[in-house]
Subunit: 210 residues, 2 copies
Amino acid sequence: MTAGTPRRRGRPSRTEAAAGPATRDRILEAAREEFSERGYDKTSVRGIAKAAGVDPALVHHYFGKKEDVFGAAIEQSFAPAFGVPDAIAAGGPEKAGENMARYLFGVWENPVTRLPLLAVLRSAFSNETAAATLRALIEKRLLARVAGDLQVPDPEFRAQLAAGHLIGIAVLRYVVKMEPIASADVEDVVAMVAPALERYLTSPEAGAQP
Amino acid sequence: MTAGTPRRRGRPSRTEAAAGPATRDRILEAAREEFSERGYDKTSVRGIAKAAGVDPALVHHYFGKKEDVFGAAIEQSFAPAFGVPDAIAAGGPEKAGENMARYLFGVWENPVTRLPLLAVLRSAFSNETAAATLRALIEKRLLARVAGDLQVPDPEFRAQLAAGHLIGIAVLRYVVKMEPIASADVEDVVAMVAPALERYLTSPEAGAQP
């Protein structure tokens, strides 16, 4: 991407470039922290570079434009959730809903994996570019794979209905913190939502009464 | 609330106080716009007063502290959604899920009622006080009434599962704008989610397979 090519003046020094993967990781970590603390709008490539202790040109060199840095940062934030398709496949169709719910609530329950997700959702709510980047990532890395395994009509729509259900429960439980759903035992929530997910993922009659 | 009593110096003049309801409405409208455009954190009582063309003391006089102004603003933003309990009651138990979904998607589909909801959700994502205010409002004005009409165990939990489902679909459809769910016919979405809502709202066996 030409926009990501560093200008002559800001080209990384031989020492910096030699640092390679470690520098790239340090920039990515700084980007995650900046986006997480400030949100998409108030984060700048310059600020990320400063936090990582590198020249802004090096951020461009590794990641391109701000939206590409954001994409790389949220890809890492969402990585724990990408195990969903395997978790569903492992249990077979009759456990698809239960396994999808249990796996994703596992990701949400752990503060280490929950906080980056909340930060990404916050950015997506406040900025269209961030929302578009998030959309592309979820579609490509998560829902396309889930939909690809479904034996139902409109598999993408079904996968999105199931994902939407879990996102909404997560909003009430972890963001709005509404009781009793915020303190309910995870397994009770899984037991309640699993049949709804199951229907979306495996029941061929669209809109049929349960 | 004593915190809302204006100090002597900032007491509204007789002319301002005489304006009464019209002034209060103007302040509330300014508050909705400020919170909507800037989010909770960056909105100030001073800024709201300036936008409404009144003294900040008058904002305190009518609404109290910033969080109380926010509460009044989001109460108005959410007012269109408060018809849900009546919409559910009107159709009887066998249509509860369908009527809840159709009513709420009606509110979301209309930009006039959708944009304030999105603004409120954005504030709740970025600020704990805003999240708490939103939580109290949804519980008191919406879910307590829905739960009060349910003939199932754990009615609050059930009402929150149903609301969470619809919130998550709304996030994918109106915020993240993921296809195909973003462009799907509303009635197709209603037909797909209604059975899941129906089960939460009326089926007594918790976690039973559909």
